[in-house]
């Protein structure tokens, strides 16, 4: 990438919180996340030139739109700040970050605030499931369907099964690893929940099927969360580094990005990829674009991955799409322990969407925040030793919008 993009860090709210129970308006999430990010990074509010919000469906969950305007409320210095909101279902946060990066590379701004947010615990699970259905082609895939997304991602598993064979025990292992990693993450939603591989393998009254081959243990969580990060040009990063008394080269960068959109309907995706080695070729392309832009040959140049495990099947898909195995052989990486916290390329050290939580429009930013923690050696209990470069993969819809970032340092 021409103009380097520096990542200055940020702040994430505790994903176990229920803001409705606290009787909070979504603006409180903005305030806490931005105040936390300013405090954590030492970025001066006067230096922030633009703000981008990633959010999926605040209009539905909280009856509130025009979210960019809430950024202006978070600090007196933000009066008049140009802001906007970006939506691409569960990939909204990454799209907000891409917009901020594009503006920096265009030379418009030097320091941007990016906030991903979703407040979801305002409605019961059936109504929330219906809202999430608008991330699919609602009228054709979700209307009148109870919990459409587990069913769509169940079909992703079925497609793997049909093309290559798929054992549910491998999905159970994915779930178990994510929950185990989340126990080491003090901001993870499920950090105090019980999980075991036996439970994940069991189908019973506590682990019932919610759609196709997807059970409760295969699913990510309904989560309230806000995550704010700052990205900067080299010019601002140099000034910031000088003020902090560190070398600008010690600040991590967003080394590469990839972004593709597939047809909205799941059937159309499958039909399009029927002769392709990859089930979701556009997702694969987002990943390889990110590698190429970062100057990385393949996944073995990456130290960890934060991927979009909205369901265990989407992580199963990510394993071969990242190139950890040949297409269809994701099970090998699971069996060989490659994706475990102490494996060759750990996936979701944070616990991912299953363990850490999935505040839909916030997830893309949360993944990048976790990548920042890993490469700056500040991830605490879920630190991947010596991580220098971390990849993210954020997916909106049933594999529709895919965005991947590479965060870290040049070798």
């Amino acid at each position: 990438m021409s103009e380097p993009i520096y990542l200055l860090g940020g702040y994430q709210t505790d994903l176990a919180r229920n803001w409705q129970k606290e009787n909070k308006h979504i603006s409180a999430m903005f305030n806490e996340a931005v105040a936390g990010a300013l405090d954590a990074t030492g970025v001066q509010p006067e230096d922030v030139q633009v703000g981008h919000v990633g959010n999926f469906a605040a209009e539905l969950y909280t009856m509130q739109g025009h979210l960019g305007a809430f950024l202006v409320e978070t600090d007196p210095a933000f009066s008049g700040l140009p802001t906007g909101r970006h939506e691409a279902a569960c990939a909204s946060g990454s799209i907000a970050l891409l917009a901020a990066m594009a503006e920096i590379q265009a030379g418009w701004y030097d320091c941007s605030l990016v906030l991903g947010v979703e407040q979801m615990k305002t409605v019961d699970s059936a109504r929330g499931g219906d809202f999430l259905g608008t991330a699919a082609w609602y009228e054709r895939e979700a209307k009148g369907v109870a919990y459409p997304f587990p069913k769509l991602f169940g079909r992703l598993g079925d497609e793997y099964d049909k093309r290559f064979g798929l054992k549910d025990e491998h999905l159970a292992r994915i779930s178990t690893i994510n929950y185990a990693n989340a126990k080491k993450n003090p901001l993870a939603q499920t950090r105090n929940w019980y999980m075991s591989e036996q439970h994940a393998n069991s189908t019973d009254r506590f682990n019932s099927v919610i759609g196709g081959r997807i059970k409760i243990s295969d699913a990510s969580q309904v989560t309230d969360g806000a995550i704010a990060v700052f990205v900067a040009s080299r010019k601002y990063a140099e000034e910031y580094a000088r003020r902090k008394g560190v070398s600008v080269d010690s600040l991590p960068r967003i080394l590469g990005w990839g972004h593709h959109t597939a047809p909205l309907e799941f059937d159309a995706k499958v039909a399009e990829s029927k002769d392709n080695p990859y089930v979701l070729p556009h997702t694969r392309a987002a990943i390889t674009d990110a590698f190429r832009r970062a100057g990385i040959a393949d996944v073995w140049g990456i130290d960890a991955i934060e991927t979009h495990d909205c369901f265990t099947t989407s992580e199963y898909m990510a394993i071969d799409h990242f190139g950890l195995t040949a297409p269809g052989k994701s099970w090998q990486a699971i069996e060989e322990g490659v994706i475990e916290l102490d494996g060759q390329v750990p996936i979701n050290p944070s616990g991912g969407l299953i363990g850490a939580g999935h505040p839909v429009g916030g997830t893309g930013v949360r993944q990048v925040m976790d990548a920042y923690r890993q490469v700056t050696d500040t991830a605490g209990g879920y630190q991947v030793n010596g991580a220098r470069r971390v990849a993210t993969l954020n997916i909106g819809g049933s594999g529709t919008t895919s965005v991947s970032f590479i965060v870290g340092y040049d070798n």
Binding site: K24, S27, M29, E32, K183, Y194, Q198, H199, S202
Partner: protein, 448 residues
């Protein structure tokens, strides 16, 4: 088997004595979730099966039961405790009963095994009196808050003879393997959390006699930094439990605010008549839900009644609106906690004075429980237990929001002892802001 000199504790086999209570089942879930082999012990098999069902429902997992060993006392303690690394006694809060069971445990336990008792305030030294040296060196109180799987706050009250490094190892183990928010307390009545928390609750109950139940729950409501209003909290805890805690402190402690622990007479009277709060739903406590058809007012199937402390009678609740409370709630609702607390400190009037005195009293009393001769040695432990055990805004976070100078001035204005911590912070001897618990955002406690 761990020894006194080994810094890390290897915990494999845990035996829960009295597994069918809320604390026993909660602890069993916690230990099984952390990968221990757990044995559940209760009086008869029916009770043990009940414990297994409780564990499954807490963990939301049928499979968690696969690894649980089910036993009754009839097996004999020698067999129950064979190879145990930790014996976790969770029978009822009854001193003679606990003494009897701990003596049995002492006779049969493996040397070097840890023994913990779940208690919300009984003397740990007293419970271990006359038991073996090895027992006393390995004995601690572990106070869990209810329900343990939701509230991670945990008090560790080591027997004074437990070696310091073993105390540290146990605390680390509970934190790292079982996700507990640990504090270490001295063996003093009610330990730390309940001492500080029930002082506030009982003070509000005392004030309710003059100002009414609903008004007090509004003035010291969730907007002051708590998940639940104080008197509703006493109903949830149970009036009998509340009485046991405040009576124990009132009888055995001398401190600057001891009169706040005197149980109000109206409460004593209600308890005598069987009003124990939510656990006696028909009689109620401060509140009760009424669903009898015959007594329902026009068009209502159920309604809530509130106690009149003066007469001991109940009447239907009414909507109480206190303008400054609404104003502050609106600020908190938008995440403007600093402004909300600032407003709380400046608003004029008798009602605001009542609320401020309670909150400043909480700050003063909480932070004065720190230091030599007190129940904890670091103010962060008070913060941790009030947040993770009570879901209340930690005292030092309140000081930060009010401002250090303003806090000291306000405490002086209300004739409340200024904690040494604040004086030291003012001199620059302690880092500010004071609140320093990682990953805890105090804003969460200030409800909108």
């Amino acid at each position: 088997m761990a020894t006194d000199t080994s810094p890390a504790i290897a915990l494999q086999k845990v035996v829960i004595i009295g597994a069918n209570g809320a604390m026993g089942a909660g602890a069993a879930t916690m230990f099984a979730g952390g990968g221990c082999d757990v044995t559940l012990v209760a009086r008869d098999l029916g009770k043990v099966e009940g414990a297994v069902a409780q564990v499954q429902s807490i963990a939301k997992s049928e499979r968690i039961a696969d690894g649980l060993v089910q036993m009754t006392y009839s097996e004999g303690y020698a067999k129950l405790l064979e190879d145990a690394d930790l014996i976790f006694e969770a029978v009822a809060e009854d001193f003679p009963l606990k003494r009897e069971i701990l003596a049995e445990i002492d006779r049969s336990r493996p040397q070097g095994s840890l023994v913990a008792t779940v208690s919300s305030g009984l003397s740990i030294r007293g419970l271990a009196e006359g038991l073996s040296d090895d027992f006393r060196r390995n004995f601690a109180g572990i106070h869990l808050f209810n329900p343990p799987h939701m509230m991670t706050g945990t008090e560790l009250i080591p027997h004074p003879e437990m070696p310091a490094e073993r105390v540290q190892a146990l605390s680390t183990l509970m934190t790292e393997r079982f996700g507990r928010s640990m504090i270490t307390c001295a063996d003093m009545p009610a330990f730390a959390g309940n001492r500080i928390g029930f002082k506030v609750l009982n003070e509000v109950a005392q004030l309710a006699e003059q100002h009414g139940v609903q008004l007090m729950d509004t003035l010291v409501g969730p907007y002051t930094g708590r998940a639940m209003p104080p008197l509703a909290t006493i109903d949830l805890v149970g009036w009998d439990v509340h009485q046991a805690i405040v009576d124990n402190v009132y009888a055995n402690v001398k401190d600057e605010a001891i009169e706040a622990f005197k149980l109000p007479e109206y409460m004593e009277k209600q308890i005598r008549h069987g009003h124990l709060g939510d656990k006696t739903p028909l009689l109620g406590g401060f509140f009760r839900r009424v669903t009898h058809d015959g007594r329902a007012p026009e068009g209502k199937r159920s309604w809530t009644e509130v106690l009149d402390p003066g007469t001991g009678t109940y009447k239907e609740t009414e909507k109480i609106t206190v303008p400054f409370v609404e104003e502050i709630r609106d600020l908190h609702r938008r995440g403007r906690y600093q402004q909300g607390v600032a407003r709380f400190m400046e608003v004029e009037g008798a009602q605001a004075d009542i609320a401020r005195r309670v909150i400043l009293g909480y700050i003063s009393y909480g932070l004065n429980r720190v230091g030599p001769g007190e129940v904890v040695q670091d103010y962060a432990e008070v913060d941790r237990i009030m947040s993770a055990g009570f879901n209340w805004a930690p005292p030092s976070a309140l000081v930060d929001l009010i401002g250090l100078d303003q806090s000291i001035a306000a405490l002086e204005r209300y004739n409340l002892p200024v904690p040494a911590l604040l004086t030291a912070a003012k001199k620059g001897e302690v880092m500010t802001p004071l609140f320093n618990l990682p990953f805890v955002s105090p804003g969460r406690y200030f409800a909108g």
